[in-house]
Symmetry: D2
Subunit: 346 residues, 4 copies
Amino acid sequence: MLHFDNDYMRGAHPDILRRLSETNYEQSPGYGMDDYCAKARDLILRECGMDGCGEVYFMTGGTQTNATVIDALLARHEGVLAASTSHVNVHEAGAIEASGHKVIVLDSPDGKMHAGAVARYLRDFYADDTFEHMVAPGMVYISHPTELGTLYTLDELNDLARVCGDAGIPLYLDGARLGYGLAASGTDVTLEDIARLCDVFYIGGTKVGALFGEAVVVRQRGLLPHFFSIIKQHGALLAKGRLLGLQFSTLFTDRLYMRISEHAVRMAIKLKQGFLAKGYSMYIDSPTNQQFFILPNSEIDRLGGVATFSLWGPRGDYETPVRFVTDWSTQESDVDALLDYLSSRL
Amino acid sequence: MLHFDNDYMRGAHPDILRRLSETNYEQSPGYGMDDYCAKARDLILRECGMDGCGEVYFMTGGTQTNATVIDALLARHEGVLAASTSHVNVHEAGAIEASGHKVIVLDSPDGKMHAGAVARYLRDFYADDTFEHMVAPGMVYISHPTELGTLYTLDELNDLARVCGDAGIPLYLDGARLGYGLAASGTDVTLEDIARLCDVFYIGGTKVGALFGEAVVVRQRGLLPHFFSIIKQHGALLAKGRLLGLQFSTLFTDRLYMRISEHAVRMAIKLKQGFLAKGYSMYIDSPTNQQFFILPNSEIDRLGGVATFSLWGPRGDYETPVRFVTDWSTQESDVDALLDYLSSRL
Amino acid sequence: MLHFDNDYMRGAHPDILRRLSETNYEQSPGYGMDDYCAKARDLILRECGMDGCGEVYFMTGGTQTNATVIDALLARHEGVLAASTSHVNVHEAGAIEASGHKVIVLDSPDGKMHAGAVARYLRDFYADDTFEHMVAPGMVYISHPTELGTLYTLDELNDLARVCGDAGIPLYLDGARLGYGLAASGTDVTLEDIARLCDVFYIGGTKVGALFGEAVVVRQRGLLPHFFSIIKQHGALLAKGRLLGLQFSTLFTDRLYMRISEHAVRMAIKLKQGFLAKGYSMYIDSPTNQQFFILPNSEIDRLGGVATFSLWGPRGDYETPVRFVTDWSTQESDVDALLDYLSSRL
Amino acid sequence: MLHFDNDYMRGAHPDILRRLSETNYEQSPGYGMDDYCAKARDLILRECGMDGCGEVYFMTGGTQTNATVIDALLARHEGVLAASTSHVNVHEAGAIEASGHKVIVLDSPDGKMHAGAVARYLRDFYADDTFEHMVAPGMVYISHPTELGTLYTLDELNDLARVCGDAGIPLYLDGARLGYGLAASGTDVTLEDIARLCDVFYIGGTKVGALFGEAVVVRQRGLLPHFFSIIKQHGALLAKGRLLGLQFSTLFTDRLYMRISEHAVRMAIKLKQGFLAKGYSMYIDSPTNQQFFILPNSEIDRLGGVATFSLWGPRGDYETPVRFVTDWSTQESDVDALLDYLSSRL
């Protein structure tokens, strides 16, 4: 079977497992107070161009990270502005609301929050006489890449950061698949840009070669007071915090995080070109490790015999959108085999 | 000044104040355990055609009632399906989310939840492989009249109740202005219909002639276990519960609740006919005590000198929607005076 | 029947009902934006010695007020320090926890929070290496009179305010029965003292002659940012806010609040002296409108035939503590009748 | 340095790391739907004597597990009964309250919940007229071993289960260090007993040789409806759920979980005997992997130069309680070295 259904189906990049084995008998303090976490923080901040400023915290998964960060950023009466398709709105089983905050939704066909739409929402909100009876927009949530595999341009990020800055509300970026966005061909957004423009963001490990783990970067020290206790309160504090520090220090040594991402993107683009060459059309044009095509149902059934991938929405009468995903472990020979097997539509 | 800006700007129908005075020195147990509450419960259940079954609880305001009932009806992982324009989505400052529940929004141009749209949402939800990662639709919230002054037909209510029943989720009706819906000309929905078709609903007092107070009717005993404690937990338990019982027993004696509503609707329809006769058009066609017109800004400014009313949305370049509201205290002479003052557009 | 079971069993002082009737047809804006609320705020702040500073908000009941204020004062990771017998710990059905905050309990035989115990708790808390894994003490809750009818001295309040100030956490006073504390014979604590020493407190109306209502006084403007929205979110915003403003402006005109309180305390002290004269002993020595005695069960049964009062704890084998309460409506003749009927134990 | 400060300072038992490496390239579905989780569930249920019934869920840490299970077990108006020293009351940063539930505390000098005290609490609660104004005791939380290293006897557990059963409330056991309790010399409580007597409990992995992970065992299928979604909502659903399944299937193969526990307990008892032999006294008598002594401050300072361990409370004037902990990785030679270095007090 050729596996393209997700980027968290295998274990971890072998370097990470090796480091876990090498250090297994070392004894470290818990809860992120160890040397590996310290080293990972340094490496990450350096890569972000934030030497000597900012903060880094580690958690184990994306929903947990989103719920904890958003809860820490918002006041009681505030909600988070997010795209209708966003993970926080759709796929977190109400984790944001469970800590008392509304997800205020803006429609977005491409999964992005556009500066103009946010500015308009903020203007209309405060123009409404009854705004104090409504949930105040207290921050903006974006993901990069988005849930649809699309990317912000640097201009778009700049505009969004300016709108947030003018309104005095933080901009938070969910980077569950951040590496694939940074490694995408054609992107003009760097990690340093993100670190400069977002008040808080996280660098996803779970989907980018780690066993598990997300690294939350806070631009300004003190922005999240008592965040350690809030992490604990959310059940998000790993006892053996060292496991997270070790993984991220490995990922940020010798560009491993980017090398993993670049490999996956290369495999994804090869896949895309193969599908296009055989006459299929894209459902969404994504430059990242997620590729979306429209396939005839008959071809879906054929491919299903040799490969795993996801339907992206309900099965249509004749054709259906599908998603193929690559990661650190995707073999080029598997991509070739899949493309060989794919019928030509021409 | 001629007042048409809301239906909760004056005190209470004089019968209610009189009863408060007459009984002021009586001593009753607190928290709704008194004889007036018992009597009001009986009167309401009889009017609902629910003699000998069901339950009635009293609270002081609409947002409080919605938040408490919805919290009691939903399980942890569930949210409430509601129209995008609904009070729970827009104007409760996040009270629903504050108790941990998502408002799952369906777009609705007329403020109503249509059975077809709800059925489609439910079908698509459970057809999605990842539905367990999403907030389960645990109940349907409607308002009657809606926030836009529109009304359900009996067919629409029947269909909605059937869809909810098939899905095994309760249907809850917010009746903040219920009287005006029941008294509307052309409606085929009675209080008995509502009591038969909704699992829970409330009869609004605050906006229909009481000083304050809402009466929650539960069709089936035991549907809301420990609801007394949940009311208390929401800070919604009035110490002198008698005040609520007395008001509702007065409102449900000699048809006072309906007489108040009929008067307000008659005044509203007179207003509507006057506006139409002078050549203005409706913004929304409402048969209730709320009337919505589109007025030229110049006329808005003229009228503003003699009458109070609300802009319904941001002021346009040339014209703007406005809302006029009547209630128990609206004088026919005030309606006449307003219409006399209104310029003719013909 | 002679009624001594509580101070919220009758309606309201007649002056309040009269004012409600007189102003019934006036039309005012909702949600506390009206002139009566403005006037009540001025009167209260003047009485507090806070002319020109501070803020006043109105809510309808005690639990609601406590839950809303505490939620507004605390950060996510903080809890409220309170006596084990306090209303927030025992009798609010978990309203504090429902908004996410722990009630951190200190044992207290007399219902008071003593400065020494609070200081010790704070010192031990921050001396503990693991304090960031624990709920931070974010404020102190006291009631005056306490749930046991006891009162703070000015020295005690001063000490408590100093400990809170040193720790940088607010001191909040629940004044559900504040009038009776201020009117108690022997107290050296004035309303001005409370306004000076507490960051937030409320003046109870429900139990002191109003139909319902509590007035929250905030010493420093801006201490509770966006409190209006938080009140709304808690379902604690009365549509006809005028009802609260009118009641409190009446209570704070011509010393009505204090006259009501003084009368009730005088009746209570007469009751106490009568019980003592007949040889009964106090269960708790209270100088307020609540009086606690120990009565033989046989006498409890006798009295129960002519008067209402509460058992204060489980019925003992031979004798049981009981509570008698007076209020604005207590007739001196009823006190006399009760004392006449009481058996002598001498 | 000789390390005795905790049981989560090193990585994992080497068998677990080895299995992670061996299976790293296998591709499995996420969220616990994989074969390793299925296998671990079978192994655990078999060990519990629950073949063919019950349910098992995996989470990553103790606080997370407690907060999620308790939230799932309780209704809105309920709280959890727990010892004053319990982890949920003291060391979870308010995670229980953050999901809206009160921790109802019973004082307990030995860290245990005694059946008599629970029965008394329940009886007094429902005997109180005002119980509907109070948080209902909805479940009982115990830990085994307790936070003080003490153990329940089978009689005690039986009694507690009977009291809970009579009251119709679930009994939940936090087994963060369960293995050490089962392996303790002198205990008469087996895993099967726990599985039979507790409605829900968890088998701790983090502190018993796993990298991380806790296995929640539910006696009766369906007791926790929609628990998957509730886990997700708590941010407690690991994407690569396989990591948990693999660890627990390894721990429950060839008695590894018990062998780890037995080794740690043997080391702990050797330590205890050494301390006693040199004339020191126990602070608490624990038969588990945690040992508590009272040491003179001078000896604490001496030992601190060669070994790590924890002060157990504030440093006293002359002597202070201390805790030494063993685990899977404790070398007997380290125990010997520590005892050699320890001064004799005789």
